[in-house]
């Protein structure tokens, strides 16, 4: 039963060593920066059309070329980043704000009727083919970025509910929770004070993954015409517009496609890097 207390390397050392995290964080930062800069400056006005020079391939004037209406692709990507990030961010926020309390509450009422109802509710939402519910929602309320947020958000709720319930269940066995109960603290207070801080790492890691899935989902919705509406540029719709022109202007499809891939890749790498970074500090060194 040897018990080596390994010295805890400082977080900075860990960050430098895991290059996956660095690449991921770099890519993500690039796109967040692009989105922020787009508020104040873009090479051209993203909605400025000039039909004369449409479908130009990447050139000095237009680094990423122009689309079928002659709009500058780079500016559209930057403004599009704003939309994708916003939709994914708020959708993950909805997932966390609604999902985590549900999960914690279900865990505190372990095995009870409420726990069963919440879990059955999760199975129900998981049972719906995700895009189908999104289509139905946007068919009822009409397409638009807000409805895309609601549609994607709803699918994040069971993910976070199930994740936080699972983590909380294992924590409830821990002895410091019993110690808090001995002090007379209510289940809700214990969930807030003890359980939530100890599952935030899990939530952060899952948050980045769901964020990247949110971007993919927004692109999917926009591709079938249900995401952000014109004139607001969005990556998914750029892909949809580029579809018919793929053989005569491949750059029209490649630019938004690769942007989505790089963003999602960056987020996932950062997510994995975070998981390695945050976990060892918590996990006790087993003998």
């Amino acid at each position: 039963m040897s018990e080596q207390t390994v010295s805890h390397p400082s977080t900075l050392q860990l960050i430098l060593r895991s290059n996956g995290f660095l690449i991921g964080a770099g890519l993500t930062a690039l796109f967040v920066l692009a989105a922020l800069v787009s508020f104040i400056w873009t090479p051209y006005d993203a909605t400025q059309m000039s039909i004369a020079d449409k479908l130009k391939t990447p050139s000095a004037a237009h680094w990423l070329g122009t689309d079928h209406f002659g709009r500058d692709m780079l500016s559209m990507i930057m403004v599009g980043a704003r939309v994708s990030m916003a939709v994914a961010f708020v959708a993950v926020g909805v997932g966390i704000l609604a999902g985590v309390p549900l999960g914690l509450y279900a865990a505190s009422k372990r095995g009870g009727l409420i726990d069963e109802i919440i879990m059955r509710g999760n199975d129900l939402i998981f049972a719906f083919p995700s895009l189908l519910l999104a289509i139905m929602i946007t068919a009822v309320f009409g397409p638009g970025a807000v409805n895309a947020i609601i549609a994607i958000g709803i699918f994040n709720i069971p993910v976070f509910a199930r994740l936080s319930r699972g983590a909380a269940l294992s924590l409830w066995q821990r002895e410091y929770i019993m110690a808090a109960q001995v002090c007379g603290k209510s289940k809700a207070l214990i969930s807030l004070e003890h359980i939530l801080p100890n599952i935030t790492n899990l939530l952060i890691v899952q948050g980045t993954i769901q964020f990247s899935l949110g971007i993919l989902a927004e692109a999917g919705l926009a591709y079938v015409g249900l995401g952000a509406q014109p004139p607001l540029p969005s990556w998914g719709r750029m892909l949809n517009d580029a579809q018919t022109l793929i053989s005569i202007a491949p750059h029209l499809a490649l630019v938004p496609g690769l942007t989505i891939v790089l963003t999602v890749l960056g987020l996932n790498l950062m997510g994995d890097g975070l998981r390695d970074l945050l976990d060892p500090k918590l996990r006790r060194v087993k003998s």
């Binding site: 039963m1 040897s2 018990e3 080596q4 207390t5 805890h8 821990r174 002895e175 410091y176 019993m178 110690a179 808090a180 109960q181 001995v182 002090c183 007379g184 603290k185 004070e193 003890h194 801080p197 100890n198 500090k281 918590l282 006790r284 003998s287």
Partner: protein, 539 residues
């Protein structure tokens, strides 16, 4: 004839040295005990014999087995050796068996890969081996799965797997640490029988000096990766040249000196009256009647102020359930519990907050008793939640400093996080947390079982001193009877939910009345020199 000869073994994992110049021998047919505290490197020594080392380990020196030099063997040759000539059993029986494979398959597997016997023959031999380890066919068919076996039974399956092919050497790494005292005695007896019958050599690794004294022919004492002393157990225990061995010996027998306890009969801190607790059994099918298992059955006892009471019993006897019931963490089905004369909890009604301040708890596992996210100051002031009136920051500061210093830590430790402390220091912080609200009763649930012998002695001293100073009363729950004997005034023995015997600790230990208590006392491994010398003369 020396079966195993280890010479100048040095080993390091990554770049941290673990073993320094280890040399020892194991004679055929004898039992070698390797004893040392956690971190002494005794497990790694065993694993290096079998070459089952974690990746990234480098070692040198040579190991001879049965005359041959094994450290130059290829991995495949080693595979033939493992389980055939040398086999090993481990400490955690609950996780050591494959949950999705029957016990029959797991035992016959090692037979089939070494001897190429047909499935039927292998199963036949597996059946015989299981019978040898006292797992009869009637109750333990080959088709049974590990998950519904007890810890002791699983350890027997492990032993069956190990001895199925009559190996020359069996390495047992802390085989009984996770078991309760009666099961431990049975397993040790079984190992001794196998050594005698099969001429098996046994390398027994443990941190429990008493087990080594009782079992081992030769002893090796290790500390921080070095052998500090080795030789026949008689010589080692009687001479004890090395100071560390002496310190280890005295710590194992340590009895904290406690002031004689004056009992004021009518100042009763805890009164438990006819308490019973039930657990719901899983229903056989959806609409079957709900069955209950009565874990605690009509238990009554009293604890006076300043009195230390022990609660002992095998695993599954209900002592943990009783402690949860006393602390109102579990609702009672019958009877009620009074603290300082006032009803604390009774069937149906939960406790009221103000009474909560009167009771506190210290747990077994120092690593799971604290929220890693909070600083020590916040951890130990959590019980203040029970205080109705708000304390000012100054008052809290004073209370924190006083609590930390009373358990032998410094005030500025309050600003550190829990992962910066060792196991022993954490247990001190747990005690500080219990003390800070000056409770009348502290429940110590296996509070010292997870600690090494030397640290355990210090913590027991601390507890004794605090009990005297603050006139605290303890309910000391443990499966380790020697610890209970050294610190409690009175003891309760529990079996299957009932208190079967109670009385002053010395009387109960000297002449136990109830059969179960007698079997418990008998099972405790003895650690006194005269007894060993008497045994020596007999053989």
């Amino acid at each position: 004839m020396t079966l195993l000869n280890v010479q100048n073994l040095n080993l390091s994992i990554g770049n941290t040295p673990i073993l320094k110049d280890i040399s020892f021998e194991l004679e055929a047919g004898r039992i070698l005990g390797i004893v040392g505290e956690s971190g002494s490197g005794k497990s790694i020594t065993a694993l290096s014999v079998l070459q089952l080392l974690p990746n990234g380990t480098t070692w040198d020196g040579d190991i001879k087995f049965d005359g041959g030099d094994i450290n130059t063997l290829s991995e495949d040759d080693f595979c033939d050796l493992r389980g055939n000539d040398i086999s090993m059993i481990f400490q955690e029986p609950m996780t050591a068996l494959n949950p999705v494979q029957t016990i029959g398959d797991q035992v016959s597997e090692s037979i089939r890969i070494h001897t190429g016997k047909s499935r039927k023959e292998a199963d036949q031999l597996a059946r015989e081996t299981l019978n040898r380890v006292e797992l009869p066919e009637s109750e333990f068919p080959l088709s049974r799965y590990p998950h519904d076996l007890s810890g002791g039974q699983r350890q027997r399956v492990m032993i069956a797997m190990a001895i199925a092919l009559q190996p020359k050497l069996l390495i047992a790494d802390e085989p009984t640490t996770a078991l309760d005292v009666t099961t431990q005695a049975e397993i040790l007896e079984l190992l001794e029988k196998l050594v005698r019958e099969d001429g098996l050599s046994l390398m027994l690794i443990t941190h429990d000096l008493a087990v080594v004294a009782q079992m081992a022919d030769d002893v090796v004492v290790m500390k921080d990766g070095e052998i500090v002393e080795q030789g026949a157990s008689i010589d080692v225990f009687s001479k004890m040249q090395h100071p560390y061995t002496q310190q280890l010996f005295s710590a194992s027998n340590h009895v904290p000196d406690r002031a004689p306890h004056q009992q004021d009969d009518n100042d009763i801190v805890l009164s438990v009256e006819q308490v019973s607790c039930d657990y719901k059994l899983p229903k056989t099918h959806l609409f079957s009647k709900q069955q209950y298992f009565r874990a605690v059955d009509g238990v009554s006892f009293k604890i006076h102020r300043g009195e230390n009471v022990g609660l002992v019993g095998g695993s599954g006897c209900g002592k943990s359930t009783l402690s949860r019931a006393i602390l109102a963490l579990k609702s009672l089905d019958e009877g009620h519990v009074l603290i300082n004369g006032k009803t604390f909890s009774s069937s149906g009604k939960g406790p009221d907050l103000t009474q909560r301040a009167a009771t506190q708890i210290v747990f077994q596992d120092p690593y799971s008793s604290f929220n890693p996210r909070h600083k020590v100051r916040r951890l130990i002031t959590e019980p203040f939640y029970t205080k109705s009136e708000e304390l000012t920051d100054a008052q809290i500061e004073v209370a924190v400093t006083e609590a930390l210093e009373s358990v032998g830590l410094k005030a500025e430790d309050g600003d550190k996080y829990i992962h910066e402390f060792s196991g022993g220091q954490r247990q001190r912080i747990a005690i500080a947390r219990a003390l800070i609200v000056k409770p009348s009763l502290i429940v110590l649930d296996e509070a010292v079982s997870a600690l090494d012998v030397s640290i355990r002695a210090q913590v027991l001293d601390l507890l004794a001193e605090l009990s005297d100073r603050f006139n605290l009363s303890y309910l000391f729950i443990s499966h380790d009877l020697s610890v209970v004997r050294s610190i409690t005034d009175r003891v309760l023995v529990m079996e299957r939910g009932k208190i079967v015997e109670t009385g002053p600790t010395q009387d109960v230990f000297e002449n136990p009345q109830h059969a179960y208590t007698q079997s418990l006392i008998r099972a405790i491994p003895k650690l006194d020199i005269e007894e060993i010398r008497a045994k020596e003369k007999m053989t």
